[in-house]
Symmetry: C3
Subunit: 102 residues, 3 copies
């Protein structure tokens, strides 16, 4: 099976930042994204969990599959945008079958 | 710690296709799978989100850890099966500790 | 964009084991973790799904981004701790932008 190398970008952010992250992803040329809900976690700003009454600390994970070039731009811009937040930005290698989709 | 190289296959599909995907995974010799719920996303067919009244556009992510050979078969068959849908099929490298499980 | 290689550890366990896994992760020097809910799956002990009345077979996925050294310790200790359970422990490569966070 012929596959094509792509990048997976994963961004874990507080929910209020999600619209800005999706705008960034859309604006930089990614053809799509998937958002996963998270349940709880711990990071630099301490422990958090979904369903806190404030809702402020609820986290989501945005997954984007894209080319090396677009992934680089997303990671760079996400880093700038999220620098003062406790966001996590991850980059990894994946292979896809449908080259044309991403 | 001795680890063993395996493949991770990730398939994101509309929920109505999940039974067929799991049948395919089971039938090709994978020893297991994990299904994650997704919250929203955007792809070739536009934006979607969980909880749409129709339910039709709800997506799930199927994660399978398996050998190179089985992963290749799953990716190939999933591609054929899902060709006319907006599914995403990803292949990546992982290491596991328990060789015998996968 | 300058990135730094790190390890992603993913541990899928039954929910009752989650506190022990998080204690292990915290105790071995990881700076954080994210917990994702799963919906259903199949493994060595058969099929399971979230929302079973007993609650016993509900699975969660713990994601940890950390250094090679800490990842090795987590994988080794998790393996010992979870040996008699149907847990899955995965190790893979990721790149991060903020070196200092992990």
């Amino acid at each position: 099976m012929r596959t094509h190398p792509k990048k997976k970008v994963e961004i874990i952010v507080e929910r209020p930042l999600l619209p800005a992250v999706l705008d960034l992803v859309d604006g930089l040329g990614a053809t799509g994204y998937t958002v996963l809900r998270t349940e709880r976690g711990r990071g630099q700003s301490g422990a958090w969990q979904a369903g806190d009454l404030s809702g402020a600390s609820d986290r989501v994970m945005v997954v984007v599959i894209t080319s090396d070039a677009v992934a680089d731009r997303i990671v760079e811009r996400a880093y700038e945008m999220l620098e003062s937040y406790t966001a996590i930005v991850l980059l990894s290698d994946v292979a896809v079958v449908r080259h044309d989709h991403f």
